[in-house]
Amino acid sequence: MNLLKVENIHKRYGKEEVLKGVSFELQRGETKVVIGPSGTGKSTLLRCINRLSLPDKGQVWLEGEEITHSKSNINQLRAKIGFVFQDFNLFSHLTALKNVNIAPMKVKGMKKEEATKLAMEELERVGLGDKADAYPAQLSGGQQQRVSIARALAMSPKLILFDEPTSALDPELIGEVLEVMINLAKDGMTMLVVSHEMGFARSVADEVIFMEHGVIVEQGPPQQLFSNPKHRRTGEFLHKITELYGETS
């Protein structure tokens, strides 16, 4: 059974249909990266997966349980999916430590000592053990994003969704976040990442999905997609990106 199955997702905002029938699957341990021009519905897709947005048509299954079903216990399902936002969205009134341990305590009912121990472990894992008592406003963008990854990890999710995790960061801070993500992938975490970071895609993605105008144009292993794209549009897009971002190794 696949971990995540997305089938025929349609989503409309007002008059515009942003997602026009998107389907794909994700196996345990896989890392897939979604690329494509801005505004093609990539973020919307992620939000449909954990139902922050409800698709107009189509279904999403997590380990066989349908997320999109109206009777599903959405909070329980969301607890199994981690979400990392472009704008971090750390809880600004809580320290880094409390940001990470609040969900295990309130959603999973963990005891405070246990949750705190877990939170410290995850913060160490992302390299921020010494910043446990800092407030988000006192941390740099890269540090905040790493805390938000720790926050997602603390729930022991089956899968983590990343919505352009580095797009809001200053260039010199991107590396520290990508490093954490690469290690996660190597450790076997199932990840679905929307990003422009081609170097990241090239090094850890099992598959790259190219989306444009609300549909998947092409998907395949990075080596194949980058050097030998089957569709003209894929090639054009990659060419433009490489121009903008430079050849990233």
Binding site: R78, A79, H93, Y135
Partner: protein, 224 residues
């Protein structure tokens, strides 16, 4: 013409002062509870709740406080509800401040909303949990300046209750002044009392504000 003054007035005025403070504190508390409920109703209540809440708010913010007081004091008895002068005062002031506080809360909640709510829900928190642990703690900090302001405003507007025979500072002052025909002296003292009260309360509130600040977040702009 000499100015008249009697030291015996001071204890009476002090008693009035106490009543003023009492009324203000109680009506503010009523305002917080009711205001918060109204704000939550408006933001999270769907059309069913948010429209009545909105109407309530618009009425109590758009009509004069004095009229509201008169409606409570003279109007309610015709509906079978008779309250003492003090209770009428507290009720009218409470409803009024609730409407204003509701808007402050609503603004604060909506300022925190967006990303924080999404993040909270994506960890699996229910709507109630998200509101309780993430939205409200932050919203409360944001409203403090407006809220302090409201407290001071209410302190001054509470003077209106003398019109329904409550013996707050105004009520006492009026009585003394009328008896001795010394309006000028008495009300200068009354004015000074209010100024002193306002000053002390502002300082206290400023200390509270500093105490609950979150390190790293800048000073909130002072609404005045």
């Amino acid at each position: 013409m000499g100015l008249v003054f009697d030291w015996a007035w001071l204890p009476q005025l002090a008693r009035g002062l106490l009543i003023t403070v009492e009324i203000t504190v109680v009506c503010i508390l009523v305002g917080i509870v009711l205001g918060l409920l109204l704000a939550l109703g408006r933001v999270y209540g769907g059309r069913l709740l948010s429209i009545p809440c909105s109407l309530f708010i618009q009425f109590f913010r758009g009509t004069p406080l004095l009229i509201q007081l008169l409606m409570v004091y003279y109007g309610l008895p015709t509906w079978g509800i008779t309250l003492s002068p003090i209770m009428s005062g507290i009720l009218a002031l409470g409803l009024n401040t609730a409407a204003y506080q509701a808007e402050y809360f609503r603004g604060a909640i909506q300022a925190v909303q967006g990303g924080q709510m999404m993040a909270a829900r994506s960890t699996g928190m229910s709507l109630a949990q998200a509101i309780r642990y993430i939205i409200l703690p932050q919203a409360f900090r944001i409203v403090i300046p407006s809220w302090s302001n409201e407290l001071i405003l209410m302190l001054k507007y509470s003077s209106i209750v003398y019109m329904v025979t409550v013996m707050d500072i105004m009520g006492v002052g009026n009585t003394i002044a009328a008896r001795h025909f010394s309006f000028f002296e008495v009300f200068i003292i009354v004015a000074l009392l209010y100024l002193a009260l306002v000053f002390i309360v502002s300082q206290l509130l400023r200390m509270v504000e500093r105490h609950v600040q979150i390190p790293g977040l800048g000073e909130h702009a002072e609404h005045r």
